[in-house]
Symmetry: C2
Subunit: 198 residues, 2 copies
Amino acid sequence: MTAEPDSALHADAARPSRREQILQAAARLFAERGSRSVGVDDIGAAVGVTGPAIYRHFAGKDAMLAEMLLRISERLQAGAEQVVAAAGDDPRDQLAALVAFQVDFALDNPALITVQDRDLGALSADDARQVRRLQRRYVEQWVAVLTALDPDASTPACRARAHALFGLINSTPHSGGRLSRAAMVALLTTMATAAATA
Amino acid sequence: MTAEPDSALHADAARPSRREQILQAAARLFAERGSRSVGVDDIGAAVGVTGPAIYRHFAGKDAMLAEMLLRISERLQAGAEQVVAAAGDDPRDQLAALVAFQVDFALDNPALITVQDRDLGALSADDARQVRRLQRRYVEQWVAVLTALDPDASTPACRARAHALFGLINSTPHSGGRLSRAAMVALLTTMATAAATA
DNA sequence: CCGGGATGTTAACCACGGTTCACGTCGGGG
DNA sequence: CCCCGACGTGAACCGTGGTTAACATCCCGG
């Protein structure tokens, strides 16, 4: 769908501004080493400038991380809302749409997947709360579909199932990437669907 | 099986020495905030001593993390070897044994699960290599069983499946814990088995 | 041609945190 | 009794790294 990895950060994917270059480079570095272990000099070097040049574009390192995580969770939440609405009324179709959406996102943005669940704790209290609110809304869409599929299951059980499915699909960053994208899509979709309808 | 969480660290679980107390407290703190974000003073305070007292028991902060991760991966690898051997020759039984083992470990040691896949990058090159070697041996046991179950699947595909199953089962730290342990065991076992045999 | 805003650079500042040091306490064996 | 090793403490040391300051460059609109 998109040419370069982790492009979900791009507001304007066509001609990435210096600001967007920085965000994407930071996402890659954060995913590799963790946000606390990567210096502003490293981020600058990754885009060909020195460290302090960053401050022409961002208030600070934590502001970069905050914008990164807010964009991701916003994009996931909005995307899920959209694909569910487009899937019609059958919960099975809705589940298929959510799985396809999450699989695509995980394969397109491996670094963002890693950063989101690893560096949430590095955010300020306010930013963390906002990200968690968006994440919760995303999870609740899954919970609603899973509940419709299995009305006998309790809400906490559906929530646990949703998290298990996220873990399954988001395993891509750990899987090396020896498989073609198409093969990974098929593999993850099959496994997730089987796990969800067990 | 064991009373307190993350007890897999204990060499002698009966009367935890000060050294073991420190390791376990550090594991909990590392899981909550990430190893880079927790200070030596924090670890000391968690066991009722000051920061520098740590150096009576460990060479340094990185040595603590190294010992922690080495013990975990050693324990997982050895445990998997044992339960597979005890499961007989049927690959279905072997898979069930591996799933049960991993589910138990994930539910008993949520903090260790989190630390292991988040702070591997904080290790020295030598320690990281050793941990990765143990992890690889663990994964290969899963790959062997998955290959026996589905001889048509390629090795990379089986490896990706194994990682997907790890992600599914290791989702426990994200699931809050509103469900009873028994319910989580049933839920994760069912989902993992369905995903593995899809 | 000129002034100003955008963008970078180098050097300096400063807080944080891992580590070391010198010293205190306490319990047990010679 | 006393000495020694184990275990802790508070103070100091010092590298790392985020942030700011002061000074260039370049480009564009008037």
